[in-house]
């Protein structure tokens, strides 16, 4: 993993260096001046790509963050703060950071359209404020000083390129880190991310904070570029256009950010040469964004797809990693109950979804949880894993009460679950997902061994190309890879063929011995339950109807009745 990031970072740095050298050699200073803008906008787009493209949140006020950075740089210039532009940029970025966190805080609760409304409102309000307080030095025509030695347009180009390069390289490392993977995870499902032990608030706030920091720097660069600025440079419309471009090109990709910069900076130039009105550009960007949203593919992704057609990605043939390479079980103490629910009651309004339900999962066993539709099985799992706002009763994990812990904390403590509909980030590879899910520390061989053991696709494959049935297996593989004390499997076999389901049942039965994890299995298929579970609990109308050894429970007349509505005693009596 480390090697991957270093390689990608080196590649990015080399490409930027070559591109910069070529520009300096070949182009006139007019073009150099124009292309400087490409990279400044590129920095702003990278900041937006992080929030929008990676973390999947909407920000319609990115130019406001840039405005904060630009304003601070202008102010430091006017008071002649020591250190020059490089230092001012840093301070400008840091000044934008709290604004990012302040907008990120509502984003913890608000998403989709609500977040769009808030950020748009902020953009408008910020425009009003900036228009009132005006840009420092605007009235005295004080220009922002460029770094000494780099005052010429060529010099400033080199400076901007260097800053762009530093940010791009840093992002290569961050996006491949666990933090970067967590952004992708919350984009696709916050619940699923939390169930992997990802802290959703941390992921959201860090995305907004880092993004605002980078946007602030881009604003500062713009200040040095133009010398002085107007409120209009940071108006809501600018933020909206930037947003549209980011969506259209896929600003989360290195190629996309540059491409977007080219479009924003050079498209007006092209229109000017064709004597067309400049604002056609914005219309074009808006249409492009709608197009990208309707196909679900940005320009960068389209290029990538075409590129892979020409140069197919090499997929290392999976070594038939043997079972001996499976990671060792984490040693657990004793044979006491690892998970226990005591009289848990859940209400949704007037409806009682769970009524004083109790259940024990002993160390080293697979316990089945069955019951008719609407019996409360999903509520049961949600209660255990912390996805309900409240419940009555107690849940004990390894003998300790966990009722006060959040979903993320429970997942980190070792209470893991899978989902009926899997929502993994399709941008991750199978291997990256397993690593994110495992919490780290697995070797390549161990990852491969787990994948082979559960008959999953190879680790290089992108999740986007894995079918839904195999994604469920992958979900199970991720939980197993973490080797937590307890795994809750929510209908892992749904959609599998009969033979696959039976096979999966055998694997599930082996989990306690191989990985040291106890399992609570929710399943409809009785064959699977029989082959995997030593004990079964039956839920009906939110209450526990029966619990005990599997075959005994399944043979109880009351259970048959709950399941089929047939009163077998009655039938026999007739």
């Amino acid at each position: 993993m480390k090697r991957d990031s270093s390689f990608a970072a080196l590649k990015t740095a080399a490409l930027i260096f070559i591109a910069g050298a070529l520009c300096l050699f070949l182009l006139s200073s007019y073009w150099i001046f124009l292309i400087t803008a490409v990279f400044i906008i590129g920095v702003a787009l990278q900041s937006l790509g992080l929030v929008v493209g990676r973390a999947g949140m909407i920000s319609l006020c990115q130019m406001s963050f840039a405005g904060v950075g630009a304003w601070v740089v202008g102010y430091l210039n006017v008071i002649d703060f020591p250190g020059g532009l490089p230092v001012w940029l840093l301070i400008g970025g840091l000044a934008a950071l709290p604004f990012g966190i302040a907008i990120g805080l509502p984003a913890l609760r608000l998403r989709g359209i609500n977040l769009a409304i808030v950020t748009l409102g902020f953009a408008v309000a910020f425009g009003v404020v900036l228009g009132t307080i005006t840009y420092p030095g605007q009235t005295t025509f004080t220009m922002v000083a460029r770094p000494s030695g780099l005052e010429s347009d060529q010099g400033y180009f080199i400076f901007v390129l260097a800053i762009y390069g530093i940010i791009a390289v840093a992002l290569e490392f961050i996006t491949r880190s666990r933090l970067g993977a967590s952004w992708l995870a919350i984009r696709h499902s916050e619940r699923a991310a939390a169930s992997l032990g990802v802290s959703v608030p941390k992921a959201k706030l860090s995305a907004f904070a880092i993004s605002a920091f980078i946007a602030g720097i881009s604003g500062g660069l713009l200040a040095g570029y133009m010398g002085t600025l107007l409120a209009d440079n940071f108006s809501m419309m600018q933020s909206l256009v930037l947003f549209a471009v980011a969506i259209m090109v896929g600003a989360q990709f290195p190629l996309g950010a540059i491409l977007g910069g080219v479009l924003v900076a050079l498209f007006p130039e092209l229109l000017r040469r064709l004597s067309l009105p400049q604002d056609l550009g914005s219309v074009f960007f808006g249409v492009g964004a709608v197009q990208a949203l309707s196909t679900g593919e940005t320009i960068s992704e389209a290029f990538g797809r075409l590129g892979r057609k020409i140069l197919p990605r090499r997929i290392r043939t999976q070594k038939r990693a043997s079972e001996a390479s499976l990671p060792a079980a984490r040693v657990l103490d004793g044979d006491k109950a690892v998970l226990e629910m005591r009289d848990v009651t859940v209400r949704y309004g007037n409806v009682v979804a769970l009524n004083r339900a109790s259940l024990v999962v002993p160390q080293g066993t697979v316990v089945g949880l069955i019951g008719p539709n609407g019996a409360g099985k999903s509520t049961f799992v949600d209660a255990i894993t912390g996805f309900l706002l409240s419940y009555e009763g107690k849940i004990l994990f390894q003998g300790k009460e966990i009722d006060a812990l959040s979903a993320t904390q429970r997942a980190r403590a070792g209470l893991r679950r899978t989902w009926q509909t899997t929502r993994m980030a399709p941008e991750l590879t199978v291997g990256e997902y397993i690593r994110l899910a495992s919490g780290g520390g697995l070797s390549d061989e161990e990852v491969d061994a787990i994948l082979v053991w559960l008959d999953c696709p190879p680790s290089e494959q992108l999740i986007s190309s894995v079918d839904a049935g195999a994604r469920r297996l992958l979900d199970v593989a991720g939980a197993v890879a973490a080797r937590p004390p307890v795994i809750l499997l929510d209908e892992p076999a749904a959609g599998q063929s009969y033979a696959e389901a039976v096979m999966l049942g055998k694997r599930i039965a082996e989990i306690p011995e191989r990985f040291g994890s106890s399992v609570l299995l929710i399943e409809h298929d009785m064959d699977l339950v029989r082959s995997a579970c030593s004990q079964v609990t039956v839920l009906d109308f939110g209450a526990v109807l029966a619990a005990g050894a599997t075959q005994e429970v399944l043979d109880m007349p009351s259970v048959k009745k709950a399941y089929m509505g047939i009163d077998f005693d009655e039938e026999a009596a007739q």
Partner: protein, 235 residues
């Protein structure tokens, strides 16, 4: 007369085949009962027939006309009524408003009040405040005033008391006796088999039994096997 017929119907959810090559027939005046444990694919089958989800392959014919490419709304107008599970009332409306929303010019509310007299006294009550049984009557009635040819009813007894279920089952039988074709999906087998004509049992997306209700109703052991599988017994 066969009103509804499916041939080798395959329906997928997120790429996974959930209904596999199913042939189902519903005739006027008859109730086709569709049984199976949950997760077997019964609801998906109904949703494919009514057009809520697309069909991967095979055909759905209403009186000989292929419906596969027809939208859900047009299928409804053509005569396929679908009473979804979970009692999908319009909660903010009264009983009568619910029934009036899609009233066919030839139909009248009186028919519904005749079929379910208990609704008459509750006609101005907001349907959110009705009991579960009454709500179920409202959604069935709402489907009937659209003058359908076949009615698909999904899990109408879920969460209701046995007395109420009995009452509803009688109403459904009445519909068939009036000449409608009915497809009744039920998790609870005995009552459905009592009032039904044709029986299907579904498992993992396929029909594992096809026959008449009386035969299956008199053979609880076979039903047990069909529902719960038999690996345990074999081992």
């Amino acid at each position: 007369m066969n009103i509804l017929e499916t041939e080798n119907l395959v329906i997928k959810r997120m790429g996974i085949p959930v209904v596999r090559e199913v042939n189902l027939v519903a005739s006027s005046g008859e109730i086709s009962v569709l049984l199976g444990a949950n997760g077997a694919g019964k609801t998906t089958l109904l949703e494919g027939i009514s057009g809520i989800i697309p069909i991967a392959s095979g055909s759905v014919e209403l009186e000989g006309n292929d419906m596969v490419k027809v939208s859900a709304g047009k299928r409804a107008l053509a005569g396929i009524a679908h009473v979804e599970q979970g009692r999908t009332i319009f909660g903010s409306m009264t009983t009568e408003e619910n029934l009036k929303v899609a009233l066919h010019p030839d139909a009248s509310l009186e028919e519904i009040y005749e079929l379910f007299p208990e609704l008459l006294a509750r006609k101005d009550v907001q349907s959110m405040m009705l009991s579960g049984g009454e709500q179920q009557m409202v959604v069935i009635g709402r489907a009937l005033v659209g003058r359908p040819k076949v009615v698909l009813i999904d899990e109408m007894s879920a969460g209701l008391a046995p007395v109420v279920v009995n009452r509803l089952m009688k109403g459904v039988r009445r519909l068939a006796d009036l000449g409608l074709a009915v497809v009744l999906v039920e998790q609870f087998a005995n009552l459905a088999l009592e009032i039904g004509d044709r029986a299907y049992v579904m498992r993992r997306g396929s029909f594992v039994y096809e026959g008449d209700c009386a035969t299956l109703g008199n053979d609880p052991d076979q039903l047990h096997h069909l529902y719960l599988g038999d690996i345990g017994e074999a081992a």
